[in-house]
């Protein structure tokens, strides 16, 4: 999961080559990698890649602070996703 997300961000959202290779713990917000439209693109990618739907409550900056926090957020969602699939 980390590799997929890191690859996407490195390929599509990082505009400053000096930030590459992107470490999983690099702050996406403080480094300026993720702006408003970047986050939108990332959300669309995550939804398509992992088959999830993100609501307003999921769109918290802390969920997208780094590749690691994105993965932690997605893993925390998994039980919810399974539950909603069963339901």
């Amino acid at each position: 999961m980390e590799t997929i997300i890191n690859d996407y961000i490195s390929r599509e959202l990082v505009q400053d080559p000096a930030l590459l290779p992107l470490a999983n713990e690099t702050s996406l917000l403080e480094s300026g990698i993720l702006d408003s439209l970047g986050l939108l693109r990332l959300v669309v990618f995550l939804e398509e890649q992992f088959g999830i739907t993100m609501g307003d409550a999921d769109l918290l900056p802390e969920n997208f602070a780094s590749v690691n926090t994105i993965c932690a957020y997605l893993r925390a969602r998994e039980p919810r996703k399974q539950k909603s699939t069963r339901g």
Partner: protein, 350 residues
């Protein structure tokens, strides 16, 4: 000096009284009478606010240049004050499910909104700080269209404003509008990176998201602004409307709310979808061209004439408010636009 301060206090008191008492009372009168009185107040402001009047006329001539004679600039300036006064009455007519205002607003292009919503990807309704746009969004919502606005309640962020004043503006200005929205305003401020994603969520719910493309870019957003032809010059506008449309597939419709000659009636003119294919500057340029045409058709409707700072920040006039063409978007401190507005107490335009 003392006289100037006393005059400023008097002006502030008059404005507060107008927002709190005068306009609500006018909104309860028959529309013809209420708006006639509001127009009269606009004439009074035109006569007595010499500095603002001069600033407006100067900005009009700097931007529109040879298109405008001094007499025409004065006429537009007078009209601008009249519209300012009437817009407060519009807000106060949003009570009772906005019926008092809905009776006065015709929606032309409703079919474009309905057709776009039928496609299920939501609609981006793009406009400018033009006419009574906020009340107009409320009218659309009260007419059955789910509307959410991307925009800032700037009194929440201005320096030098007390919590009591914030409470006041929230009560008299924001609250009437908030009643007629699908969701709270999506407020783009530095560090709020979820703005586009929130707008996308509203679009996926097949709602109408409104955007004003002439908003002055904040400091953190300036690098993203794109230079496009605007009012015969070049302005640095944020391309969010185009990017949002390209990512979500939502159509972009342009909409402008024009006030009729009787000052009471208004017409929403909503366009068919504007193409957003191609590169960002070209697509954004199409939207800017529509706004330019609306402003040229009725210059007094554009609220931004009053703020030399915001015109400079957009790159329409020189950084000192002079006629020198700006080489591009002028990089001024973030707070300048806000400070310009905070010098006044009218949140809408004046």
């Amino acid at each position: 000096m003392g006289d100037k301060r006393a005059w400023k206090s008097l002006r502030k008191a008059e404005a507060l009284a107008y927002w709190a008492v005068g306009a609500p009372a006018l909104a309860r009168l028959p529309a013809a009478l209420g708006y006639r009185i509001a127009r009269g107040r606009g004439d009074w402001l035109f006569r007595h606010r010499a500095e603002r009047r001069a600033e407006l006329a100067r900005n009009l001539q700097l931007v529109l240049g040879d298109e405008l004679s001094p007499a025409a600039a004065q006429q537009i300036t007078r009209e601008w004050f009249r519209l300012t006064s009437c817009e407060v009455v519009d807000l106060k007519r949003l009570r009772h499910e906005a019926r008092p205002l809905r009776r006065l607003v015709e929606i032309r292009g409703r079919e474009h909104l309905e057709a776009a919503l039928a496609a299920g990807k939501g609609v981006i309704l793009c406009t400018g700080h033009f006419g009574s746009f906020l009340s107009g969004f409320s009218v659309l919502h009260a007419s059955g269209f789910p509307v959410t606005t991307i925009g800032r309640w700037h009194y929440n962020y201005m320096g030098g404003i007390s919590s009591a004043e914030r409470w006041f503006w929230d009560r008299v200005y924001a609250r009437p509008v908030r009643r007629h929205q699908q969701r709270p305003n999506i407020e783009p401020w530095p560090g709020r990176v979820q703005v586009a994603a929130l707008a996308s969520a509203a679009l996926r719910a097949n709602e109408i998201v409104t955007i004003t493309i002439d908003a002055v870019p904040l400091g953190s957003d300036r690098a993203r602004s794109v230079e496009v032809p605007f009012l015969g010059r070049r302005a640095g506008l944020l391309p969010g409307v185009v990017a949002l449309a390209q990512v979500t597939g939502a159509p972009v419709l342009m909409g402008f709310l024009y006030r009729a000659a009787d000052y009471g009636h208004q017409v929403w003119e909503i366009s068919p979808p504007v193409p957003v294919e191609g590169d960002t500057a070209t697509a954004l340029g199409r939207c800017a061209a529509e706004l330019s045409a609306a402003i040229r058709r009725s210059p007094a409707h554009w609220g931004s004439w009053c703020s030399t700072g915001s015109l400079a920040d957009l790159g329409l006039i020189g950084p000192q408010g002079d006629g020198s063409p700006a080489a591009g978007p002028v990089l001024l401190p973030v707070g300048r636009f806000i400070q310009d507005r905070s010098a006044d107490i009218f949140p809408v335009r004046d």
